[in-house]
Amino acid sequence: MKSLPFLTQNTSLGKSFMTLIRIITVLLIVMILMSGGTVVVSLAKITYQAIESIFVSLLLAIVLVYILNPIVIFLESFNLPRTLSIIIIYLLIAASFGALFGTIIPTIEREISSLQQELPRYQDKIIQSINGVETWIRNKTPQVGNLNLSANLSFYIKKELLGGSKSDILISSSKIIGSFITLLVMAPFITFFFLKDGPAMKKALIGTVPNRYFEMSLNLIYKINIQLGGFVRARLLEALCVGLTCFIGLTLLGVKYTAVLAIIAGLTNLIPYIGPVIGAIPALIIAFVDTGNPAMLLWVSMVYGIAQLIDMLVIIPAVFAKIVNMHPLAVVIVIIVGGQLGGVIGMILAVPVYSITRVTVKEIHTGLTSLRT
């Protein structure tokens, strides 16, 4: 500790650091206790899972902080103490969740279990349709030979999507539910502390920067915060609008599992450009398999198209363009690079990482040029 004097208990950073260590230790203990039924599993595996869970919870907590912080600031502007403001928001969220558990959550749960039961039927129908297409191609162009599309797809669905057997699906769903509960407990817990002590933590952290770079760093953190906060809020607003539009459109068309499909549409919309297409595929399959009517594909596509139009014509120009000042071509290139480097997550993170890097480089460049003069 002697080599790192700023981490001692007497400094504010030291206190924040110790608090963080304490929180992580408590979370690790909670995680280990939560997986108490599987004591036989090696400690390393539990620790790995715990760290993985904490990492995901931390990421989710950061997103939540960016969503909730403006509301906390709004309440603080009425002279309410910060902690009380956070508690009020938590109570309101808990009340909203209570209402959701009574109405929307059971619907989603019902839809998920029904979808799980009907999954083999959808799978068979897709394979049948592909078989038909394959036969048609073979008849029209015999030189193409045997494509074996349906067999390949069937193997892929069984291996990658369904994990082999029905029992595997149940295990993976229980794992997902377990992780979901962990996230539900841990993320709000971390969010609370980030919201409460965030400003002090930020102040303590910036306090370690040498005098010469202090103002530049302070300004940089401020700019990054604004960019990142605006980005997270804009993306979530987009997801919400797309999800709502799809929910209304699909309900009007009478498509099954509207709630689940709307959530998928909203979430996949977080992936720029390709996301909306990925989000539309399940709805297209379900609508086609259930009705057998090709016209339904057009109608469902129209619903997703309208959702995208609202996104592109209303939300992006009004909210997004102000936050991320980027040329559309630059956005596409950055997303492709992000996809190559980190897959879907890379695509989601590409634009914010790029804009943060741009702000940082610009700020450092301004700082260094002025230092030279």
Binding site: N10, I73, K203, G207, N211, E215, N219, G367, S370
Partner: protein, 193 residues
């Protein structure tokens, strides 16, 4: 011994905090602010330590905020062009405890260039108050934000008044000196401006 460490630490931390609180409360910059306001300001300001002759900021570099001197003294310098185009740094003023400087950057466009340089004359402690923090105060506590901005405006206003008075005085002096000059030299001077 344990008790000493325990109580000693508590009182040490408390007195440290109180020092900054009382310093801010007694400073003319925050004169008349309520205790609650001072406590809120204490949360956002940054206490920075500088060594002898260390640069606090340099002329023309982008500025983010102002500093109030808690301990020690600093000097404000400015580059002046001498004969032959050589630029030299000249000390404009020396500032001591409770003085503040750099407040213009709080109301100017973000990261406006500094109009002068500041160096520590000896080991000193400065309380930094920066624009991002001011913007945060305006959002979180608009009443306090308005109070701070009004105070900065008052300070800048009074400094502007002094500068205007000094400029008028100098102009009068130039006028008086001009009137003493012969007619042909007056014409030469008017060509210069």
């Amino acid at each position: 011994m344990t008790t000493d460490i325990f109580w000693g630490n508590i009182f040490k931390i408390k007195s440290k905090k109180d020092l900054l609180y009382y310093f801010l409360k007694s400073n003319p910059m925050f004169n008349g602010f309520s205790s609650r306001d001072i406590k809120n300001i204490e949360k956002i300001v940054h206490l920075r330590k500088f060594k002898k002759d260390e640069i606090i900021f340099k002329e023309y570099e982008p500025g983010t905020g102002m500093y109030v001197i808690k301990t020690g003294s600093i000097r404000i310098t400015k580059h002046r062009k001498k004969e032959g185009g050589v630029s030299e740094e000249e000390v404009i003023t020396n500032l001591k405890r409770n003085d503040f400087f750099g407040e213009l950057t709080l109301v100017e466009k973000t990261r406006s260039p500094r109009t002068a340089s500041a160096y520590a004359n000896n080991e000193c402690e400065l309380v930094g108050f920066f624009k991002p923090d001011l913007l945060e105060v305006i959002e979180r506590n608009p009443k306090l934000g308005v109070k701070i901005i009004l105070r900065i405006a008052e300070i800048i206003g009074s400094r502007l008044r002094i500068t205007t008075a000094s400029l008028t005085e100098k102009k009068e002096e130039i006028k008086r000196l001009r009137s003493l000059l012969p007619q042909d030299e007056k014409a030469d001077l008017s060509n210069i401006g």
